[in-house]
Symmetry: D2
C-alpha cells in the first residue's frame, strides 16, 4: 500500500529525499480554474526561514518552487499539478558515519527495519524535516483555494519548552506578529523568552520542543464524513504525518478529561439569525462534523532528536552498544519551522473535506478567480 | 466519499443506528483460515456492561453477535464477514422531543446540517455511543488475529474527572483487575474513588470525562507506512473515529513540548541480542514506524453530553433560544464503556498495518489455527 | 486489499455466499433524502425469474429484500444502507461431491488456490451467479437515483448462441418487450429462436452464451475522471466484476479495429442549440468522459460452465485425472439472468461518477423526492 | 476524486501534458531493493519509435528518462519514485486554431465541458497519446519486477485495418520479430501488408485502427481479488485508461457468446504433477483469479482521430457548424505505438495484484537483485 498520499478528492502525494536532488509534491484532484504561479509559493517557503536565523541551523535553505504540470495560462487545469523544490547545499558526507548507528529519537532504526536497509538514510531521507517542504507546497495551493471561499487557516507557536504564551490575539495580530517573531509566536514579549530558551538549549548542546496551535475561521457547519472519515480524524491523521508531532487535541483537548458535562457542553445561541455557541470547547467539531465555530487544534512538537551532545546508541552491524556524536547542522528547535507545515496539513485536509461535501466544486465556476 | 470504513487491507465498515433494528459491521479483507464463531464476540460485548451497573445508565444492553457471512466450517473464508447485533429495549419516544432542539455537546446540530435533516436523530443515530458496538465486533476479530501472532492489545482507564491513577501494573494485573472494576481501572483503590466521582456527578445531574490508555505488546519493529499512512497517523484517525475522543497522544505525548532532546530521546540498547531502548518516550513509534517497543497511546474522553440538568439551546425551526431537558437514560460517564472501543480501534489498525507490511498473510498458512 | 467494493463516492460492497443464509449489499455514500422502501427492490429481483421458467434451472428463487439500516422515515439518511435477501431452497448436499473436483470453466480451482482451500465452495460460494443478487439490490438504489435526474439505464439481450437480433428498438419498446420475453430480448421474434436455442442446448446436456447490450440515455456531457478513472474504464471494471463476462466494448467496439478514421470519427453537429453528433461510434464516451450522446456498452456472457454432460477434470487431493458429473440445478443459459446485473453494474458506476463530478450532490436538495 | 492513479499497492500516478515541459510518473509502493537506473527505461521508450518511421508522424520523439527520487545506490528505497521525460520539438501554434473547434473522435469537446474550458487543449493535453510515455515509464519498473519472478509480459499487433495475422508464434519469436517490424507484428509477412495498409490510409488523408494482443506467461494460480477487484476487472480498467482502446476481451473473448459450455469449458489436466488445462478459452483467468495458464487479453485500438482530410465540426464559441482542417503531425496509425502502452498497463496491474496477494513482498529479500 502506497502510503505517501493524503486526501481523497484533493489528493496530495509527496516525494523526494532530504539529500536527493529535489523534494516535491503531486496534487491530483485540484479543481480547474484556480490562478496559480510559481511566485505564489514563495511566502510559505520563506516562512521556514525564521526572521532571526541565529536560533536555527546554519544550513540556510533558499527554496524556490518549480511547477512541472497542471497549470495552463496561469490557471489550474484539473490535471495533476507537480511542484518541486531543489535541494541545495547538501553535504551528505556529514551523515555517512551514522549509517549503522541509529540516532536516538530518530526514525533511523525503525526505517532501517521497515525497508530492509534500502532506505536513503542520508539526513533522515524521507523522514527529514526537509520533507515538510513538499507538504508546504501543497498547503499553498490549499490555502489559495480556501481564500477564495473566505476561509482562513492560521498556525502559530504557543509554547517553547516551559515558556508558554497565555495571551490571546486577533487574527490580524497573529498574522502580523508571527511574521516578526523568529519563533512564530504572536506574543512578542513571550517570543523573546522563547528565543532565549532555544539559545540556552543550543548552548547546552541540546534541543527543545513546543506547542503549535492552528485555528481555522469561517468553515461552514456540516463539513466532515462520520465516522471514520470524520473531520477531526482526518486532521489528526494529516498532522501525525508530520513526524515530530506526538500529540493532537481539539478545543479543550486533554482538558475534557477533568471537566463536567455542564462545563464542557457548548451552549447553543442565536446570533444574527444564525446558530452559534457560547463557548468552543469542541474546537469547532462535533461528531466529526464542523459546527460553524472556529476549528481549534493543537499539536505537541518533540525536541529535535539530533543534538550536539554525545549519546549512547547501538551499532546495527556489530550489534554492540556504542556512542554517537551527531555532526552536521541541526536546529535546536524545529517548532518555528513546523508552523507552516501544521498550517498546510490542516489546509489540505479542509480542502479535501470541503470538496467531499460539495462546498468546493470540481471546476471553479467564477472564472475571474 | 463513503466515510464509514477504516483500514485498507483489513477494511472495517460499520452500519446501523442507535434506535434502528441492528448495528453491525462488514469486514472485508480478513485473511482466510481464522477460527471464528459467534460466541467469540461475547466477552468483548460484555465488557460494555460494567461490573457494577449502578454507575451507568439504567438501559441494560445484552448484546449477542450474529454472523451473516464470511465463515464456513468454523473458519474465515477470505470473503466479507458481516456481523450484527440486535438493538433491544429501544424507546424512541424519549428522543422525539429533541428533533429540533440540538443537545449541547452532541452532534445533533452539525449532523442536521450535514445531512439536510434526513439523518436518523433518534438517540444520536449514527453518532450514538451505541455504534461503538460495531467497532467492538470488528475488534474481536482483529484481536483474535493478533493473538495468533502473540500481540497483545490492552486498554484501561487511567483517570476519571480529577481522580487519576499513577500506579503502573503488569499486563496480567491489568487484564485481571480491569475485569473487577466498574471503571475498568486496574488500580482498584483508585477505581473506587473514580466510582465515587461518577456517582457524585450523576447525583448532581451532571457527567464526567476521563482518560484511557492503551498498550500493545510484541509488535515487531518495522510496521507502518510513512508519511501519511504512518502507524501513529492511522491509529489517531481510528481513535478520533470514536466521537467522544478529543485528544490522542503517544508515549510522552504532550509532555514532549516541555522536554529537552536529551531527555526525550530514547537511548538504544542491546538486550538479548536485540535492539531495545532504555526509555519509551516515543510510545513505540518512530517516524511513523513501530520500533519494537510497546506502543503506548492515550485518549481523553469528554464527559457525556447528555446530562440531567436543564440546558440552554436553540430551536432549529423557530431559530429562537430555548431550554432543553434531556430525558432518557444516560451514562454519567462513558469512559468505562469506551475502553473496549479504544482497544478495538487500536487492534483493527494494527492488523491492517501488519497486513500491509506483509507480517500477516492473506491466507493463514498454519491451518491448525 | 479488500476487493469486494465498487465505486468511490457511491461505494457498494457485496457480501454473502450462494449457500449461506443470505446475500446482501452495503452501500456507503448514498446521498441523503432519496425515497426508498423494501418493495422498491421487487421488480429488479423479479427480473431474474424469466417469464417462461422452462428455459432455466428448476431452482426457483423468490427473493425479497430486507433493509437493515440507512433509511429513516422512508428516506435515505446518508448513513450506510444494508440490504439483504435470504437464500432459500438450498441443497448443499448437491455440491459436496465437487469439493476436490474443480468444475471446468468455474472458479473452483483458482479460488481453492487463492484462499488456501478455506473458501466456501458450495455452489461456487462467492463466485456463484447468485451473488449478482447483491449487485442488483444496489442497482435498484442507483437506478432510483438516476431516475431523479432523468437518466435511463436499460440492458437487454441481443444474442444467444448464434441467434442474433439485428433490429433496433425505441427505449419504450425495449422496456416493454424485454419484460415479455424469457430471454430479455426486445426483438420478440428473434427471442423465440433464442429460447429454442437454449432449450436445444439444455436437451443436449449443454449450455450456451450470448451478448447483452446496455444503453444509458440523458447522461450529461462532462462526466468521467481521466485517465485511470475514466468512465469507460470504471464501467468495464464493474462489468468484469460479473464473473461470466469475458468481453466489454463501447460503441463500435471491436469494429473500430477495421475502420478508417474518417468512418469512425463522429461528426459534431448543432441541434437545438446543443452539440450532438451525427453518429455514435464512440458509444457516448470520448477520452473517458461522457460526450452527451447515449452510452452504449456490450458484454459477452460465457455459456454456463455447469453442464449436464460428463466432463473430464482432476482430483485435487490425489492429483489424478478423473471425470465429473455435475448434479444440482443449472441454467442452460445465464444471459437472461445477467441482464439486470449488467444494468446494475452500469447504473452504480454512473451514480458514482455523477457524484464525483458533482452532478449528484451529497444531500438531495429537492426534499419532495 | 483524483483519478490519475492506477493500482492500490503498486500505485502509479501520471502527470504532464502533451505540450507542457514534461510528462512523468510517480510510483508509490514499489518494493525496496529493486535495481533501477535511468538507462533501464530506454528500450521501452524506443519501442514507441517504429523501426520504419515513414509510417508514422514526422514528429520524432527521442525520449530519455530522468529519475528524480526513490532510488539510492542504484536500488529502489521503498519511497515514491518519480521519473520524467522532457517534451521536445513542440510546436503549440499548430493547435491554437482548434481551441474552439473540437476534433471529431477526440476528447476535445468532452474535456472542454468536464474542465470548464480550463484544460490544456494543446495537442490534446492530458488526452494525447504522448501521455502513454508516462505509463510506459511505470511499465518498465513493473516489468523489471515481474522479471525477477520469471513472469513475462508481451504485447504485439495482430491486425491493422482488415489485415489480420492468424499465425501463432513462440515467445522468443514474438520478442525477436516485433522488434524488426514497424507495426510490432511478429508475423513479418503479414506485417508488410499492415505497413501497406497504413501507408494507403496516410496517402488518403486517413487513418486506420487495429488489434493488440498481450500474453503473460508464468503467472502463478491464485492471483486476483474477487469480485470487484478481480484480475480481469483491473486489467480492463488499466487498458481502458489508454484512450484509444474501445474493447477489451480475455481468452475466447466475444467468441464465448456463440459457444456451447462443452466447447468453452477448459478441461483440467494433470501435467508434471501440476494442474493445467487442455485449452485456454478463459484466457488464464477464472472467477477473476489467475488459473496458472497464460493470461491472454486483446484490445481494439481505434483509428487515429486526427486525420488529414477536412472534417465537419462545430464552433463552441459561436455554436455554429463549421469545417476543420487539422494541421500538425499525425500518426496514420497509433497501433504500433500503443503496443508498449498495452504491455505496461498489463504489467503494472499484475505487479499490483501480485503484491496484494503477497507473492511480491514489500522488501525484496534477495538483496542480490
Amino acid at each position: 500500500m502506497a502510503g505517501n498520499s493524503l486526501g481523497k478528492e484533493f489528493m496530495v502525494t509527496t516525494f523526494g529525499e532530504s539529500h536527493g536532488n529535489i523534494v516535491g509534491v503531486l496534487i491530483d484532484g485540484c479543481p480547474a480554474g484556480l490562478s496559480l504561479s510559481e511566485k505564489d509559493f514563495q511566502d510559505d517557503l520563506d516562512q521556514r526561514i525564521p526572521a532571526q536565523p541565529k536560533i536555527v541551523s546554519s544550513r540556510v535553505e533558499r527554496d524556490a518552487a518549480k511547477m512541472l504540470s497542471g497549470v495552463f495560462n496561469g490557471k489550474t487545469t484539473g490535471a495533476p499539478i507537480v511542484i518541486t523544490v531543489e535541494n541545495k547545499e547538501i553535504n551528505s558526507g556529514d551523515y555517512e558515519q551514522i549509517k549503522n548507528l541509529p540516532r536516538p529519537g530518530h526514525s533511523d532504526y525503525s526505517a532501517h527495519i521497515r525497508y530492509g536497509g534500502f532506505n536513503d538514510f542520508r539526513g533522515g531521507g524521507r523522514f527529514s524535516g526537509r520533507i515538510t517542504v513538499a507538504l508546504i507546497l501543497a498547503g499553498t495551493v490549499a490555502k489559495r483555494m480556501l481564500g477564495k471561499y473566505g476561509i482562513d487557516v492560521l498556525a502559530y507557536t504557543t509554547s517553547i519548552g516551559k515558556v508558554r504564551s497565555e495571551k490571546s490575539f486577533s487574527v490580524d495580530e497573529i498574522r502580523k506578529n508571527r511574521g516578526l517573531a523568529a519563533t512564530r509566536c504572536p506574543d512578542l514579549v513571550c517570543g523573546k523568552k522563547m528565543e532565549e530558551a532555544i539559545v540556552a538549549a543550543k548552548n547546552a548542546g541540546d534541543s527543545v520542543g513546543g506547542i503549535i496551535e492552528c485555528i481555522v475561521l469561517n468553515v461552514p457547519a456540516g463539513v466532515g464524513d462520520p465516522l471514520f472519515d470524520a473531520l477531526d480524524a482526518d486532521l489528526a491523521k494529516a498532522l501525525f504525518g508530520i513526524s515530530a508531532v506526538k500529540s493532537v487535541e481539539f478545543g479543550a483537548g486533554f482538558g475534557v478529561a477533568e471537566m463536567f458535562g455542564s462545563q464542557n457542553n457548548d451552549t447553543f445561541l442565536i446570533k444574527d439569525c444564525c446558530v452559534t455557541s457560547a463557548t468552543n470547547n469542541a474546537g469547532g467539531i462535533l461528531g466529526g462534523i464542523s459546527s460553524g465555530e472556529p476549528i481549534v487544534v493543537r499539536v505537541a512538537i518533540k525536541p529535535t532528536p539530533s543534538i550536539g551532545r554525545e549519546q549512547r546508541t547501538v551499532n546495527l552491524l556489530t550489534m554492540e552498544e556504542t556512542v554517537l556524536n551527531v555532526k552536521g547542522r541541526h536546529d535546536p528547535c524545529i517548532v518555528p519551522k513546523a508552523v507552516p507545515a501544521v498550517e498546510s496539513a490542516v489546509a489540505i485536509t479542509l480542502v479535501d473535506h470541503l470538496m467531499r461535501t460539495g462546498f468546493i466544486p470540481k471546476v471553479l465556476l467564477d472564472k475571474k478567480d
